[in-house]
Every structure is written in structure tokens, then in C-alpha cells.
């Protein structure tokens, strides 16, 4: 059946019109959504949930793997986890990491995406450069990062060249600066990822909207952060959730650059879990308990982020004058 002209007009109209379907909260139309989500659901839930349930079960045992005995220990693994100061250090590191990397990612990626949507030469080259950290696996870039941050590496060479000898130090080898290195390295990599998403989302923004704002007298940056940013909100929310989960799970960059050291100063939950499954005298039950804790924290936070963002959009933004009028 052909789509009528009415529909095409509607499509054309809304492409030209304002974005933001949330403001028009029409009732969702069609029942039967189940069969649509079913394929994705079965594949991801089916395969992974066996692992989640298995891990949950395992967290109540002490087990060395293979044929060694599985000793039931009740909640001991969880108690041990919460008493472990390294766990709390890891959680602190996770939050610090998340905040910095998220902010850098959003600001950096939006700026770059906006720049690439402007009239600029060599945009393809820039795009490739920005995206390379996303393309190349962390395991491969790690030696390069070490070379940049080590005691006689690039950063110190630049600092010395600028005459700032006192700032030149052993960034990787000090418990006070190891976390900072991880955060900076990850921020570097995160911008490319955000860029891919924001660039796609911004591609859908109709030029007329920006023109209108410009006629109103808004400058470039004003437009970016007052007009564009709200329009790409879904991407920002998704990035917040993904970043938080990544921060919790963080493993590759840390393990390859500082191994969580020195002295656990750059430890994360991901590296703790890995260390527990990797050692020769490991307790897979403890690793499973840590994974369960990770899961609960991740889902709880993600739900919180998502629901708080929904609340914000439900309250319509009335201007002050409108509100005053309605109080009359």
C-alpha cells in the first residue's frame, strides 16, 4: 500500500519543524511491541543471563576453579568485599574518572562535531585522527601511552623544554598521579567515540533552526550550548549511562598502563575482578561477588540517570511571564 501524500507532507513538515517529540506526548499507538523486542532480547538476555545467574550463584562460594572444591560461604564474599579498603578506593576512582571523562567527552565531542559540520578544509583527515583511538584497541595503544607519560617520556620532555623542570615527575610511578594519567588517557580516547554519535545526531538538525537563532543574535558558542545541546540530549544521556558503566568495568587502559598501581592507587572494580580471576590462587566466588556488586551499582545508577532525565522533560519550561500570566 502506498504511503499517502498526507503522510509525506507530515514527514516534510516535521523535518522542517521543531525537533523534540517528547513535548508532544501522544499516546503510543500500536500494541504488540513484544515481538519487536523479542529477537534482541533473546540474544542478549538469553546468552548473558545464564552468565549473570551463574555468577550470582557462584558468589556464595569460595572456589579456585577447575576441579577444586566449591566451598559454600554464604554472604562472606560480600562482607569481605565491603570491608576491603581497595574496593572503596576503586569506587572513589570510578566516580572521579566518570565525572572528568564524561565532561571532557561531551564538551570535546560536541565542539569537534560542530567544527566538522562547518566549512573547514581537510575535515576527513581530522575525522580520522579523532576517531583513531576508538578504532585501535587499547591493548595496542598502551605502549605508546606509557612512552608519553613515563619518567623520560614525551610529557616530561615538553615540560622540560618549556622550562618547567619542577613539574616533571614520574607520573606513572607515583600513587598521587597514576589515576590522573588513566583519566587523561581515557578522556583522549573518549572524545572520538562521542564524536561519532554527536556527529550523526547533529546531522539531523535542520539549518533553519540555527538560522533562526542566529537572526536572534546568538553567537556561535551560545547556539551550540543553548540550542544544539538540548537537541542532542538523548545522545548525552546515553553517553552518561555508558560512561558510568565503562568506568565501573574499566579494565584495559588501567591494566595495560599502571596495572592498578602503584599500591592500588589507580585500582578499579574491573581490574579487581580481573586480578581475582587471573591469579593462580584465585577465588572465583569473590570475583563473582564483585561482579554482582558492579551489576547492582551500574543498573541502579543507570536507572537513576534515565528517570531523572525523564522527569526534567515532563515539566514544560514556561517562561517567567507566562507563569505570571497563568497566576492571574
Amino acid at each position: 500500500m502506498a504511503i499517502s501524500d498526507k503522510t509525506i507532507d507530515a514527514v516534510g513538515l516535521s523535518l522542517a519543524g521543531r525537533r523534540g517529540g517528547r513535548f508532544a506526548m501522544t499516546a503510543r499507538t500500536v500494541p504488540g511491541g513484544l515481538k519487536w523486542i523479542l529477537p534482541g532480547f533473546i540474544v542478549s538476555v538469553g546468552l548473558i543471563y545464564y552468565s549473570i545467574i551463574y555468577s550470582g550463584y557462584l558468589s556464595f562460594f569460595d572456589w579456585g576453579g577447575g576441579r577444586s572444591q566449591m566451598v559454600p560461604v554464604g554472604f562472606d564474599n560480600y562482607v569481605q568485599a565491603f570491608h576491603d579498603p581497595v574496593l572503596w578506593m576503586a569506587l572513589r576512582n570510578t566516580i572521579a574518572y566518570f565525572v572528568v571523562v564524561f565532561v571532557v567527552q561531551v564538551v570535546g565531542a560536541i565542539l569537534f562535531a560542530a567544527a566538522m559540520h562547518s566549512k573547514i578544509y581537510l575535515s576527513n583527515v581530522y575525522k580520522v585522527i579523532i576517531v583513531i583511538p576508538v578504532v585501535v584497541a587499547p591493548a595496542i595503544m598502551a605502549p605508546a601511552h606509557i612512552q608519553v607519560w613515563q619518567t623520560n617520556g614525551t610529557v616530561n620532555a615538553i615540560l622540560n623544554g618549556l622550562g618547567l623542570h619542577s613539574l616533571s615527575q614520574g607520573w606513572l610511578g607515583q600513587s598521587t598521579t597514576s589515576l590522573m594519567v588513566i583519566i587523561l588517557v581515557s578522556s583522549w580516547g573518549s572524545i572520538g567515540f562521542g564524536f561519532i554519535l554527536y556527529y550523526a545526531a547533529m546531522g539531523q538538525i535542520v539549518p533553519e533552526v540555527l538560522e533562526a537563532a542566529r537572526i536572534d543574535g546568538a553567537g556561535n558558542l551560545r547556539i551550540l550550548f543553548s540550542v544544539v545541546l538540548p537537541m542532542v540530549r538523548p545522545v548525552t544521556i546515553s553517553l552518561a549511562i555508558l560512561n558510568f558503566i565503562s568506568a565501573l568495568k574499566l579494565f584495559d587502559n588501567v591494566w595495560l598502563i599502571t596495572q592498578g598501581g602503584p599500591a592500588h592507587s589507580s585500582e578499579f572494580l574491573g581490574t579487581m575482578i580481573y586480578a581475582e580471576t587471573a591469579g593462580t590462587q584465585r577465588n572465583l566466588g569473590y570475583a563473582a561477588a564483585l561482579s554482582m556488586i558492579l551489576l547492582v551499582v551500574a543498573v541502579a545508577t543507570a536507572v537513576t540517570i534515565q528517570s531523572r532525565s525523564k522527569e526534567k522533560t515532563r515539566k514544560p519550561k514556561l517562561s517567567k511571564s507566562t507563569r505570571e500570566l497563568s497566576n492571574v
Partner: protein
């Protein structure tokens, strides 16, 4: 997006972007320089001479292609369902999918292994494609759902009034409109599938099923890695994904431009 009316502001923009890109170049530069140390271009020759080199690329392409196909279809359908269709308790399902994102890979190996053996999947590409899809789908659904939320419901209302059923709406309206996000998804899934290391290592045990991420393994010794050759392998491996990314971008932009001319 940035308006550059005057010549001066255009030049300033160009300079600022160039400066901003420099920190990205430093590690890349270090990596390439390092890959040319030791035996210089001989490192690249050594990588090309690894037995089965071409086969590795083919296998990686198979894994990537299979993953993309499954993930793309499942994601589009699921995002459509979550975003535009009615479903009781759908948030519960959504968060169940999200929970699947949180497990570190290393925790998955043992249960997945038992599964693969019992389902006779060992040594087939499915044993890698399905777990990769399982791990990626929650993430792709997360970002696509938000994107589709941004498409006004009015469009779908209109089509439904016309008498179109869900499938028709899906294929004729959603898919074209979601193309920008589709490109993003394809690129990201391609990168993840191409870079997959642990899953192929454990499950693709047959000799002729190696993937490109196993190339650097040839140059890892027990302690003493041959880092220049590992980096050379990495550079060679990264080239197809970069090419794919650039090509897809061009295709997509051309498509967008054509669509805009009504």
C-alpha cells in the same frame, strides 16, 4: 555549524581545530615510529609473511559482517519497539537488557564455554558472533532508542491513519529516518567485532579460523614481546576499519544530501 562569515574567522577556526587535534596525534605518532624501529619496514614485511595472513582478514570480515547484520536488525526492531510501540512493563525489559551490559568479559568465558560446547558451537563462527551480538545489543539499543525518541510521534500517527501496519512503518519510515544513527551503529559494531580478542581466542580454535587480532600474538613472547612488530601488525589491522569509517561517512553524507533535495 559554526558560522564563519569572515575570512579571518575561518582561518581562526581552522587553526584552532588543528591545534586541538595535536594531542591526538602524539600517541599515534609514537606508535608508528615505534613500529619502524628495529628492522624498519622489515617489521611490516614480517607481519605480511605470517602464515594465513589473508585468511585472518577474511575471518574477521565474516565475524564482523555476521555481527553487524544480527545487531543492526535486532537493534532497529528493539529500539522501534521500546520507543514507539506499546508494551506493558517495557522499562523492565529495557533494564534487563541494560544489566547485560555490565558484566566484564572475563567473567563470561566459563559459562559461555560450557554453553558453546553443549550447543555444538565450538569451532563455528556462531560461537563468537552470538556473544558479540549479545554484548553489543544492549548498548546499541540504548543509543538508538534515544535517537528514535527524538523522531516525532506525529509521523507514525499519520502513517497509521493511512492504514499502514507496523512492518510497513518500520521499513518505510523508521529505517530511512534512522539512517544517521544506523551508520554510527554499524561503525561502532564493526570496530568492536574487528577488535574482538578474547572471544575469538577462546572459541575459534581451528587453525584456519584465526582473526586479525591474533596477528600480534605471533610476536608476543613469554616475557619479551617484539613490540615493533606487534605495532606494525596493529597498524595493518587498523587500516580496514579506518577505511570503512571514512567510506561510510562519505556514503551517508551523499545520501543525506540527495534526500534533502526535494
Amino acid at each position: 555549524m559554526f558560522e564563519t562569515r569572515s575570512r579571518k574567522s575561518q582561518v581562526i577556526l581552522q587553526i584552532m581545530v588543528t591545534i586541538a587535534v595535536i594531542p591526538f596525534l602524539i600517541p599515534i605518532y609514537t606508535m608508528v615510529v615505534r613500529s619502524l624501529q628495529g628492522r624498519g619496514w622489515g617489521n611490516y614485511v614480517a607481519v605480511l609473511q605470517v602464515p594465513g595472513f589473508a585468511r585472518f582478514f577474511l575471518n574477521s570480515a565474516i565475524v564482523a559482517g555476521g555481527s553487524i547484520a544480527i545487531i543492526y536488525l535486532a537493534t532497529m526492531m528493539a529500539s522501534f519497539g521500546f520507543s514507539k510501540l506499546r508494551l506493558k512493563r517495557k522499562e523492565v525489559f529495557f533494564w534487563m537488557m541494560m544489566a547485560a551490559l555490565t558484566l566484564p568479559e572475563v567473567v563470561l568465558i566459563a559459562p559461555l564455554y560450557a554453553t558453546a560446547v553443549k550447543l555444538h558451537m565450538m569451532g563455528t563462527f556462531w560461537s563468537v558472533i552470538l556473544p558479540i551480538a549479545a554484548l553489543q545489543i544492549p548498548f546499541t539499543v540504548l543509543i538508538t532508542r534515544g535517537y528514535i525518541d527524538g523522531i516525532p510521534d506525529a509521523l507514525f500517527e499519520a502513517a497509521r491513519l493511512d492504514g499502514a501496519n507496523s512492518w510497513r512503518i518500520f521499513w518505510s519510515i523508521l529505517m530511512p529516518l534512522a539512517r544517521p544513527m544506523a551508520v554510527a551503529i554499524i561503525v561502532l559494531v564493526l570496530i568492536n567485532a574487528w577488535n574482538a580478542y578474547l572471544l575469538p581466542k577462546v572459541f575459534l580454535i581451528n587453525d584456519n579460523m584465526g582473526v586479525v587480532t591474533l596477528l600480534p600474538e605471533y610476536f608476543r613472547r613469554q616475557y619479551n614481546d617484539d613490540t615493533p612488530k606487534i605495532l606494525a601488525a596493529a597498524v595493518i589491522t587498523a587500516i580496514p576499519t579506518i577505511v570503512a569509517y571514512v567510506t561510510l561517512q562519505k556514503q551517508f553524507e551523499r545520501g543525506m544530501a540527495a534526500g534533502a533535495i526535494k
